[in-house]
């Protein structure tokens, strides 16, 4: 089976986030008040061929630890969204 996976990569708490800070500073000029703690990260989608959801999660977790996130500055959440419908599995 093929599973759709969403990996969210974000900077660890305490690591300065120049992108988030820049976005946050731009907001008042656009008329948005009361918004803070803006953090910019990455969302990465992938499809994993695996016998079941747990196996897909294990593979995606390994990929994330090995490549998608740098543990020195980043942390990540891996979420298996569900099986990919067969008719759209191969574009």
């Amino acid at each position: 089976m093929r599973f759709e996976v969403l990996v969210e990569v974000r900077l660890r708490p305490g690591i300065a986030d120049p992108q988030g800070a820049t976005v946050e500073r731009a907001l008042p000029a656009l008329g948005f008040a009361g918004i803070d703690h803006v953090r910019v990260g990455k969302a990465i989608r992938l499809q994993v061929e695996a016998p079941d959801k747990a196996a897909a999660a294990t593979t995606a977790q390994a990929v994330t630890e090995r490549l998608l996130a740098n543990p020195v500055i980043e942390e990540a959440d891996v979420q298996v969204l569900g099986p990919v419908p067969a008719e759209v599995a191969v574009p």
Binding site: A16, P18, T22, N70, V72, I73
Partner: protein, 229 residues
């Protein structure tokens, strides 16, 4: 001089000819080595030059660390061979785990392209053996992700173990503790954001880079005589 220096080229590297030219100008024998090569046998020093290895996709150095040549670089480093990462090469070395920390986007999200002062903080590395602690060198910097970052425990270790190699005299990118370059525990692997190869000719405004690369060649030359080929 008998030293041979490998200058590693990834797809997207763009400073390799500057490095080869600078080393040749100092009497060194530098050769380009493609990233698909699995051996660095016969070389006495390795330079990972600047650029955008593998397009800097995902993170600078994140893909390059898996290039075949990197296993050879790791073995060369473990055997005590001098390895220098300049700019993108420094990023590759941190991603590969050969140097601690990471290089984040610059504070203020500014691409910096200027000449900066860096202070030599230790002379225990192949790059700084010809310098004195406290020497201030003027070298070009040219990067968007040069903001050196590490956790407090790592920073404390770097300080205690004399592994901060260069500090900016006027921090241009937000690097923790003004760090412009660090080395591994043994001191033979060095990474720095400034470009010594672009400061080896009076026409370019500074020859301070020649002090660093000349030192590297000296160490490599000694090594070439000591280690049977």
């Amino acid at each position: 001089m008998t030293a041979r220096v490998a200058v590693v080229v990834f797809p997207g590297t763009n400073c390799e000819h500057d490095v080869v030219g600078a080393l040749a100008g100092l009497g060194g024998d530098a050769e380009l080595v493609w990233h698909g090569q699995r051996s660095l046998a016969g070389y006495d020093a390795v330079v990972l030059p600047g650029g955008f290895a593998h397009g800097d996709y995902l993170r600078p150095g994140a893909i390059a660390r898996f290039s075949p040549v990197m296993e050879a670089v790791a073995r060369f480093a473990a055997a005590g061979g001098p390895v220098v990462g300049i700019c993108n090469g420094f990023q590759v070395l941190t991603e590969a785990g050969l140097l601690p920390g990471a290089l984040q986007k610059n504070a203020g999200l500014r691409f910096v392209c200027t000449t900066t002062g860096i202070e030599v903080c230790t002379t225990r590395t192949p790059l700084t053996a010809h310098s004195a602690v406290g020497d201030v060198l003027r070298l070009p910097i040219n990067h968007f992700e040069g903001n050196y970052t590490c956790d407090g425990a790592t920073l404390a270790r770097l300080r205690a173990e004399d592994r901060i190699v260069f500090r900016y005299t006027d921090n241009p990118n937000g690097s923790v503790d003004d760090i412009a370059g660090v080395c591994n525990e043994q001191g033979n692997v060095v990474g720095l954001m400034p470009h010594p190869e672009r400061a080896c000719d009076p026409l370019l405004g500074s020859t301070d880079g020649a002090v660093l690369l000349g030192s590297l060649l000296g160490v490599a030359d000694t090594r070439s005589r000591a280690v049977p080929a």
